[in-house]
Amino acid sequence: MASVTQTVSMRRPRSQVSSVLRTIFGSQESVLLVVLVLLIAYVGHSNSGFLATRNMVNVFAGYAYIAIAALGMTMVIVTGNIDISVGSLMVTLSMLSGALVTYKGYPSWLPLDAIIGISWLLPIVIGALIGAIIGFFVTYLRIPAIVVTLGFLSILKGVLIMVSQGERITGMPTGYALAQRRPLQGLDFPIFEDFFRMLTMPVFFMVFLMIVVALWMRYSPTGRAMYAVGGNAEAARLSGISEHRIVMTAFILNGVFVGIAAVLNATQFSVIQVTLPPIELQIITATVVGGVSILGGTGTVVGAVLAAILLNTITKALVFLDISPFWTRAIQGLMILVTVLADLIRRQRQAE
C-alpha cells in the first residue's frame, strides 16, 4: 500500500506537465500550428527576410487555392470517400472561367460587370454539377469513389484538351482580377496595420471559407451527419440520416469548393493555362496531414487548411535555408511522412 501512495504522489507534478503537453498535442490542429510557428520562427531566425510582410503574404496566400479545395476534400474524406479528379476539375473550371470572361459573343446590352459575374459564378455551378454527377455514380450506382474519380480524372483532362486545343487564355478585363496578391483595397486599420496588410484576397477567402465551413461542419445537422455517415454508415441510416443525400452533398460541396478555388486561381494571374500539375495529390496530402482520417468519420477543415499552409511554408523555407534544390522534394516527402507518423502515434497514445 505504501508503495502505491508513493507512486501516486510522485506522478502528480509530472501529470500536470504532461497535461499541458496533452492539450498542446491533443489534436492534430494544434500540433500543426506549433510546428508551423516553430518552422517560421526557425527560418526567420536564420534568414530574417522570411519574416518580411511580403513573404508572409506569399506563405499564406500561395496555397490558398489548395486549402480551399481541401475544404471540400475534407468533407468527401470524412464521409469515407475520396476524389482524385479534383486537379483536372480545377483546371477545367479555371479555363471555363477565363473562356466566359473573354467570350466575344455576349449581347451588347450586357454590362461588363455582369459578364465578370457570370465568369465568377458559373464555374462554381458547373463544379457543383460535376460533383453531383460523381456523387450519383458513387451513391446510387454504388461504384467505389476511387474508381469513379479515376475515370473522371482522365475524362475531364481529355475533354479539356479537346476543347481548348492547348490554347491559353489572355486578355481578361481588369475588373476580372479578383484574387491578385495585393492588399485588400479600401481597408484602413489604425492598429495592426502590418497584419492587415497581409490580408490579400486569397487569404481572405481561405480564412473566411475555413471559418464558415468549420462552423457549418460543427453546428449544422448536415455537417454532423457527414461524420456519422463516415463513422458508421449503418448506424447513420438507422438514425434516419440518408447516406445517399449526405454523400451527394459532400461531393456537390466538393465541386463548389473546387470551383471557388478554380476561380481564385484563374483571377490571380494574367494568363490562364491548361497545364495539369498533379494538384489532387497536394490537396489529398494537405487533407490527411491535417488529420482527416482516410477511413472516414473524423478530422476537421482547420487541420486541412493549416496543413496546406505548412506544405507551402516548407517549400519556401527550403529555399530560404539554401537547401540544394535537388533535395527539396525528398525533404518535403520526409516531412509529410513524419507529420503523418506523429499524428498516428498521437492517436494510438490517446487510444491506450
Partner: protein
C-alpha cells in the same frame, strides 16, 4: 398492470425472402410497462420480426398497429417517429464522436438559427443518463474509448432520447458480463416503471425468468405460443423452441483426467495479464470465469502468441517452450477459438472449405501449393463430423446460421489436431439447440484426451461443463474451485472481488504480496 395499454401490435405478419418463408402469420404485441421476451432458435424469425417492427423490412402481409392505429413503416425513421427504438446486437455507434453526440445524432437540439446547440445537447445527455441512474459517464468522451457495457448504456440513452415508448433489445447481454447485466436489468426495471414496453430477445433462458413478464416463442417462422413468465417453466420453453425434448443442456461426459499438458507459470503481459499460473490436464475441461475486462481473453491470447508474454514461462508436457506468434503456438498443438466469431474466427465472405483449411494450409500443401482435393476432403469430413448444416463445402460461410458458423470455427481448429483447445465464449449468440450440440462436442473432445480451457461469461455453462474452475479478476487469477465445490454464489463472489471463502484461494497467488494489497 391492469390498466396497461397495448403500445405495439404486429398482426398476422408474413414475410418471404427469395426461397425462404421467414415469417408465416406471426402475431406479437407489447404493452406498456412490461418486458415481453421473444424466444426462438436462430432462423426462427426473431430478427426478421424485430426488423419489421423497427421499419427495416416491410411485411408482405399483416399489419402493424401502434396505439390503436394501423401504420406503415417505410424506413427505420418512421418506426422511431412512432416511438419504437431498437438496440441491435452490433451496437450502432460512432466511435469517433462523443457520448452526447451519439445520443442525439439525427435529432440534436437546435438553436433558433437551426444550428446544433452543443451546450444544450450536453446538458440533455447528462440529464438523460442521470435519469437512468448512470452517473459515471462523461458525455464528452469519445464512444470508441468506452467499454461494451457503457456503450450499451449510451445506446439505451439514445433510444430514450427519441422518446421511445417501445424499446426492442436484440440479445443485449450477449457481449457483456454479469455485473453489466445487473446494471442493465436495473435500467430495464426503471423503464418499466416509466411505462415503457420492452421487447427482450436473449438466448439465456434464466434472464427471461429474471426480467420478463410475458414470453412469446417462435419456431421456423411460425408463432408457437405466448405465455406469462410466471406460468411457464424453462423446460417447457425449451421444448417449444426446439420442438422436441432436449436431454440436457450440459451433456458432461465422464473422462479420464491424464497428465499435465500445458502449464503456465507467472505469465505476465501489461495490466491485463499479471502473474498468471495454472495447469491443464489431458481430458479435462477447465472453466475460466471472470468479468469482461478481467483479463480472461488476454491470458488466452498471450498463450496463443497473439500478444507474446513479457514474463513467465509456458511448458508443454513439462518442456519449456517459447511462443511468439500464433503459428508457433499452433506448432505446439495449441488452438484458440476467439470470442468474436464474426470478426476474429471466420472469414465470412469466403467459402466453407477455405475457412476450414485456413489453419492447416501448410499441411494441405506441398512446396506452398495447396492440394485442392485434400482441402475439399477436409471440408467434407468436417461437415460430417460436426454435422454442420451446409449444402456444400462451397457455401459462403457468412450465409450459415450462427451455430453452424461456430462449428466451422471449431472444425478449422480441430483440423490442426490440437492437444490444447482454448475456447473463448464458445456459445455466445448461439441458440439453445446448437448450444447443447457445441457442449456435447466439447465433452467428447475432452473424452478423447484433449485439454480444454473454456472461457465463458455464462456461469451455468461454466458450472455445467467444467472439471475445474479458474476465476480471473483484474488480470490476476484469484481463485480455483473443483467441480464439486463450485456454486453460482462462490464463483460469482470471486469474480466480483468480495469473496472471502477459505481454502480455495490459489496458493501461488496467495504468496504474492502485491495481490493482497
Amino acid at each position: 398492470m391492469a390498466d396497461s395499454q397495448t403500445l405495439l401490435e404486429l398482426k398476422h405478419i408474413s414475410k418471404s425472402f427469395p426461397g425462404v418463408k421467414a415469417l408465416d402469420d406471426v402475431s406479437f404485441d407489447v404493452r406498456s410497462g412490461e418486458v415481453h421476451a421473444l424466444l426462438g432458435e436462430n432462423g426462427a424469425g426473431k430478427s426478421t420480426l424485430i426488423k419489421i417492427a423497427s421499419g427495416v423490412y416491410q411485411p408482405d402481409g399483416g399489419e402493424i398497429v401502434v396505439g390503436g392505429k394501423a401504420v406503415r413503416f417505410g424506413s427505420p425513421r418512421d418506426a422511431q417517429v412512432h416511438g419504437i427504438a431498437t438496440i441491435y446486437q452490433e451496437l450502432l455507434l460512432y466511435p469517433e464522436l462523443s457520448v452526447a453526440e451519439n445520443i442525439f445524432m439525427g435529432h440534436a437540439p437546435r438553436t433558433r438559427l437551426g444550428a446544433v446547440n452543443w451546450p444544450e445537447m450536453r446538458r440533455k445527455a447528462e440529464e438523460l443518463l442521470a435519469s437512468l441512474n448512470i452517473h459515471d459517464l462523461d458525455v464528452t468522451t469519445k464512444v470508441g474509448r468506452l467499454t461494451v457495457g457503457n456503450r450499451q448504456r449510451v445506446e439505451i440513452a439514445k433510444a430514450l432520447s427519441m422518446n421511445a415508448r417501445v424499446l426492442i433489445m436484440d440479445e443485449p447481454t450477449a457481449a457483456i458480463t454479469e455485473a453489466d447485466v445487473e446494471r442493465l436489468f436495473e435500467i430495464i426495471r426503471l423503464l418499466k416503471g416509466r411505462e415503457v414496453g420492452v421487447v427482450y430477445i436473449s438466448h439465456r433462458l434464466h434472464e427471461v425468468f429474471d426480467i420478463g413478464d410475458r414470453v412469446t416463442v417462435l419456431r421456423d417462422g411460425r408463432y408457437i405460443a405466448t405465455k406469462a413468465v410466471a406460468e411457464t417453466t424453462e423446460d417447457e420453453l425449451v421444448n417449444m423452441m426446439v420442438g422436441r425434448t432436449l436431454d440436457t443442456m450440459f451433456p458432461k461426459l465422464e473422462t479420464q483426467v491424464g497428465e499435465v499438458v500445458l502449464e503456465v507459470r507467472g505469465l505476465s503481459r501489461g495490466r491485463m495479464v499479471r502473474d498468471v499460473s495454472f495447469q491443464l490436464r489431458a481430458g479435462e475441461i477447465v472453466g475460466m470465469a471472470g468479468l469482461v475486462g478481467s483479463g480472461r481473453s488476454e491470458v488466452a491470447q498471450t498463450i496463443f502468441g497473439l500478444t507474446p508474454p513479457q514474463a513467465g514461462t509456458i511448458l508443454m508436457r513439462g518442456r519449456e517452450i517459447k511462443i511468439k506468434s500464433p503459428r508457433q503456438a499452433m506448432r505446439y498443438g495449441i488452438a484458440y477459438l476467439p470470442e468474436d466469431r464474426g470478426t476474429q474466427g471466420l472469414i465470412r465472405q469466403m467459402e466453407l472449405r477455405h475457412n476450414t483449411s485456413l489453419t492447416v494450409l501448410r499441411d494441405l500443401s506441398r512446396a506452398g501449393f495447396i492440394n485442392r482435393q485434400k482441402e475439399m476432403q477436409l471440408a467434407q469430413s468436417t461437415i460430417e463430423k460436426l454435422s454442420i448444416r451446409a449444402y456444400s463445402p462451397l457455401q459462403i460461410v457468412g450465409k450459415l446460421s450462427g451455430g453452424n458458423q461456430q462449428k466451422v470455427v471449431v472444425g478449422k481448429w480441430l483440423a490442426t489436431r490440437p492437444r490444447v483447445l482454448i475456447v473463448d465464449e464458445p456459445t455466445r449468440g448461439i441458440d439453445v439447440g446448437a448450444k447443447a450440440e457445441i457442449h456435447r462436442l466439447l465433452s467428447e473432445l475432452a473424452q478423447q484426451g484433449l485439454a480444454i480451457l473454456m472461457i465463458s461469461s455464462e456461469l451455468p455453462e461454466i458450472l455445467g461443463m467444467s472439471d475445474r474452475i479458474l476465476v480471473m479478476r483484474e488480470g490476476r487469477l484469484v481463485a480455483e474451485f473443483s467441480r464439486a465445490e463450485a456454486t453460482q454464489e462462490n464463483v460469482g463472489m470471486a469474480m466480483m472481488g468480495n469473496w472471502t471463502g477459505n481454502g480455495n484461494t490459489l496458493k501461488v497467488q496467495a504468496d504474492g504480496a502485491a495481490w493482497q494489497a
